[in-house]
Symmetry: C3
Subunit: 263 residues, 3 copies
Amino acid sequence: MSDTAHPPIVLLTDFGLQDGYVGVMKGVIAGIAPGVPVIDLSHEIPAQDIPSAAFLLETSWSYFPERSLFLAVVDPGVGSSRRGLGVRSHARFFIGPDNGILSGALDVDSEIRSIENAKLWLAEVSKTFHGRDIFAPVAAALAAGTPFEQIGPLISDPIRREAPPPTHTSAGLVGQIVYVDRFGNLVTNFPPELLRDGETWAALTPDGAEWPFRGTYADTAPGERCAVVGGFRRIELSINRGSAAQVSGLGIGSAVLLRATSQ
Amino acid sequence: MSDTAHPPIVLLTDFGLQDGYVGVMKGVIAGIAPGVPVIDLSHEIPAQDIPSAAFLLETSWSYFPERSLFLAVVDPGVGSSRRGLGVRSHARFFIGPDNGILSGALDVDSEIRSIENAKLWLAEVSKTFHGRDIFAPVAAALAAGTPFEQIGPLISDPIRREAPPPTHTSAGLVGQIVYVDRFGNLVTNFPPELLRDGETWAALTPDGAEWPFRGTYADTAPGERCAVVGGFRRIELSINRGSAAQVSGLGIGSAVLLRATSQ
Amino acid sequence: MSDTAHPPIVLLTDFGLQDGYVGVMKGVIAGIAPGVPVIDLSHEIPAQDIPSAAFLLETSWSYFPERSLFLAVVDPGVGSSRRGLGVRSHARFFIGPDNGILSGALDVDSEIRSIENAKLWLAEVSKTFHGRDIFAPVAAALAAGTPFEQIGPLISDPIRREAPPPTHTSAGLVGQIVYVDRFGNLVTNFPPELLRDGETWAALTPDGAEWPFRGTYADTAPGERCAVVGGFRRIELSINRGSAAQVSGLGIGSAVLLRATSQ
């Protein structure tokens, strides 16, 4: 361990691990910023699924140390006129295409720049792999000490994609499913702070099912529906040892009603 | 390369790589123990399959340098009253839930502690993700120099889950299948030392099949059954370019008879 | 970041990530060459698919810094008499079995050695896992400073497996498909330099389909066929949001005709 160790570069893509794309990005980084650790957040985002990537970034960045540098590339518009963005926010850096993937990193104080300084890119830039040719070299340059303002000019109109926050109605709180994990758990946009102590809560979904709130998976029987505060710090709908997504037919965008069932 | 490089933290979970859980654990580690390398042993353990994780840990730890620190989290009881364990054994450290996953690391000299010192954990501890909130911070604290005794008090009654060793019978040695790899190879609990030189061996399984011993895969024809000493240093039953598990219908727990067929 | 950081060891195998084989190789490396970073190029090469591994190595090595050390293990002949090779080429090192996997790293100036110095291997060498017992220790020894000539004697007859380069015919350029990525994109052996400016190009395949050249995926409609210069710096045949391999029935070895359709 070293006190002078560099904060990590954190990668988030839909490239998968089979075809070497991620490895090549790490090769580019190793050439420009040798010794900087690289951490994989996920490379198994469903192809072109920007909302799922944005959700993972939004719920994960705070667990990484300050000065970490996030490189998020889900990029269906690669090679078109879409901009690339660099964001300084929450004492961390975020790099990626301007398509909403960085939405969860933006706040009112964010410094947002358009990536335009080609001196920081690979000499040859393809039209199909900016993760390797533009974003990785820019991230590595920042990690190696290039001042943030050198990546390009300030902008103020990044594309934002945010699920609307839960709303209060007479029936209860109305939110939605914003992510489905690989076990089929249905992750909502309800933060756990909504669950006031001393009340009993349940979630209701459009298929007519009720998901009673439980403290943890171990409190349910196999096959039983429940709502728990999951690993993303959001309320999620789960079926013990089953796939809630498959059983319910629900998915991203489905409405969820949260209400107190008693006091 | 550096002579002062820190031994690695080695991760073993059933979290998969899709949902960012592993990446977030690495973020927590990077914040507490910057510069300590992290190695993935596997994150594709079948969900909640403690025996398979215990087998991988048991057969792998000796290939890592002394002072390596293993963080093994397959944790169906997360959020319940199950303890967390830290083990000093074989000149290495092992961290994980008290459910048998660390069995293969225990020996008569092991120092076993219950993880109870919450000062080493994240400030907010969830009921569903102790890998991130408790186990990763404790492992990182140890890697960063926290004395082992500070994680919690000594205990002497860890849960153990060990397949019984092979037994001698008049028909031959009786063992069992303890792991199935992704190619469908059936890994037994027979160590290679059982194969005395100068004898010809075969394995027999309850489906009536015989698996003649071969030195290596290259000695068999496609589709042919064989028994070989595989990568885990155990005798395994294999079908060249096929899935032994699928063809035979055998799996973890199936009995295997090993006998000398001639001299 | 450190100016004295060691170039990475880059791993390429068909071992998958489930069974811990790759993690154990990294453990061996960490014991011999502590502090040397390890990068995964891919471990999801289809089992025993040497041509696909050779293609990834050939198209990837130049993106890694000089003195990087590539460890490529797709090894159906493990335990037989096949040699192991170490290659110094392109200011980098390449280690792997002598079965053609390193073909794309060889050039006229390559220094090629047969791995024979058992002092650099693990004390116990299995017949089924030379990646762990021979190749990883040799790679780590080189990374730790062992002179290259100590791994074994010079040889001049490595096995080569190279797809023939595209040939000119009266109908156009004839090449072939050399790799299929996980999205079903069909990667050819046509380098982008073949596409002269000012001409319009299309690819034709034996199923009668025509694949018009486009600058980028974003220029096509969903379901539309196109040819693009993909991430491997080769022309590839693609169907927007579909699998070109599945729709066309084409695969590795299928012929592709490239011709200018107008000026």
